[in-house]
């Protein structure tokens, strides 16, 4: 998979959120986004997955432009900002409902994914009873469960304990080996440098030159 971002700009209600971004990303790599709150990392991720459409320029996935040729990347897993699930369902039920739409994975695979992020698959607690860390883990499991080709994770290690952080890092490195294209935005420089092959600094909607790690 190759993602090309060409002259990407986004203006929302008169404010320039992203400005003239140009970069290229390929499968089998982890790309880090570093920047202050409000710098445009999340908006950039939203553009990558098609939740928002560019005002100028564009994002292409293997040559197909989002908003023109396709509405969304054909295979994408996303955790952007806070995970959101149905309060009255358990973690498993939530993922089961979502997985049922595409019907690509079995209940067993969902349980394996839950275990992989450190959640108990048979946990009968409803989502509303989950701690922040558990919610985050469920959000990550949701983004990864169907083994998408492109994975976008915004602050994935937020609210996670050290064990959780290690689990997520190991998972992402494993997925990278499986030739996935992964984009991670993170405030923790150390973790970002550990995970990423390339880091982009985002500031005021602009993306600086890439830093190879």
């Amino acid at each position: 998979m190759k993602v090309e971002v060409k002259n990407l700009s986004k203006k929302i209600r008169g404010t320039m959120i992203l400005q003239d971004i140009n970069l290229s990303m390929t499968s089998g790599h982890i790309y880090g986004l570093r920047g202050k709150n409000g710098s445009g990392k999340t908006m950039f991720m939203r553009c990558l997955c098609g939740l928002i459409l560019p005002s100028e320029g564009g994002v292409s996935i293997d040559g197909a432009y989002i908003g023109k040729d396709i509405d969304f990347p054909p295979s994408v897993g996303v955790l952007i900002e806070n995970p959101s699930f149905l309060n009255s369902y358990t973690g498993f039920q939530n993922l089961q409902l979502l997985a049922g739409i595409k019907g690509k994975i079995s209940d067993e695979e969902i349980k394996e994914m839950l275990a992989a992020v450190g959640l108990e698959p048979e946990d009968k607690r409803k989502y509303k009873k989950y701690s922040l860390g558990m919610k985050q883990r469920l959000g990550i499991a949701c983004a990864l469960m169907e083994s998408p080709d492109m994975i976008l994770l915004d602050e994935p290690i937020n609210a996670l304990d050290q064990k959780g952080v290690e689990l997520v890092k190991a998972l992402l490195l494993e997925l990278k080996k499986k030739d996935k294209l992964i984009v991670v935005a993170c405030h923790d420089n150390g973790e970002l440098e550990y995970l990423s092959d390339t880091i982009y600094a985002v500031e005021n909607g602009c993306i600086g030159p890439e830093e190879k790690v």
């Binding site: 939740l51 928002i52 459409l53 396709i70 054909p74 959101s84 699930f85 739409i101 595409k102 080709d149």
Partner: protein
């Protein structure tokens, strides 16, 4: 690689999650429908009327004759009809907006198509409103049965309202299908405003449309078609017919649906506060 989700799966998701999310709204609407039914039965009892099922339904949708502005005339609202409609619109609520900004964002991305997502929400809306009507008829029947009256779905001469025609198909078309079609049109208008602006604004526009329709008879004010007292089939003074009501509503419904589909293709999915 194409990874489009079939529309039927999206619809199934909406029916399942939409019901789950709105379950308390449905329960509340059920209580209100029981209240409306009992109110109609109480009024009928006071007037020594023996009502049958379609009499009850007619009473809710009778509305008011055309309002004429004179010195002594006082503007009134069709309270029963408005309650019925407003609680129907209440069951639609903010689910589509909540869905796209929360849990359903994953589904939105998985759908593979913005237009397909919108189409699924339109189908969900139509089914939701039909279920509300079926629920209302069911509750009316139960209330009649509890009162010890015979429950029959047949149209008989002993019914309390006047019909200009005696055709059963026209009867159900005017009394049942026309209000359903108007409800679907108001529903899609609320869905449109709710998704692209704010759900509460959609609700506000629906209320305003009902109030203005009660005040003024105009073929474009679709709230008028709810009111059987303004329908030629039930009233000799009626100015509106099922045919024009159906045409206006269908044009509006399809127009809003197509416009919504077009706008969804250009709409940015942001969080509150962005």
């Amino acid at each position: 690689m194409k990874s489009r989700v079939p529309l039927r799966k999206l619809i199934w998701y909406d029916l399942r999650v939409g019901t789950k999310v709105n379950i308390y709204r449905y329960l509340f609407a059920t209580v209100i429908l029981v209240f409306i039914s009992e109110l109609v039965l109480l009024l009928a009892h006071d007037n020594h009327l023996s009502l049958q099922l379609w009499d009850l339904f007619y009473q809710i949708f009778e509305g008011l004759p055309e309002y004429t502005k004179e010195r002594e005339s006082q503007f009134q609202l069709p309270v029963l009809l408005m309650m019925f409609q407003l609680f129907m619109l209440f069951t639609i609520g903010s689910y589509p907006k909540q869905d796209i900004c929360g849990y359903g964002r994953n589904v939105f991305l998985e759908s593979g198509s913005r237009k397909r997502w919108w189409g699924s929400k339109c189908v969900w809306l139509c089914v939701n409103i039909m279920v509300y009507y079926v629920l209302a008829i069911f509750i009316l029947a139960i209330c009649l049965w509890v009162q010890g009256s015979p429950v029959s779905f047949k149209v008989t001469d002993s019914m309390t309202f006047q019909q200009v025609g005696k055709n059963t198909v026209s009867f159900f078309g005017n009394l049942l299908l026309l209000p359903l079609l108007v409800s679907e049109t108001m529903g899609i208008l609320q869905l449109f405003i709710g998704v692209f602006l704010r759900p509460i604004w959609g609700y506000g526009v629906s209320i305003a449309l009902l109030v203005i329709s009660a005040y003024k008879v105009n073929p474009l004010l679709i709230g008028n078609y709810f009111m059987m007292a303004r329908n030629r089939y039930f009233s000799l003074d009626g100015k509106l017919s099922m045919t024009e009501g159906s045409i206006v509503c269908l044009i509006l419904f399809l127009g809003i649906m197509i416009l919504g589909s077009w706008m969804m293709g250009r709409y940015d999915i942001l969080n509150k506060g962005d």
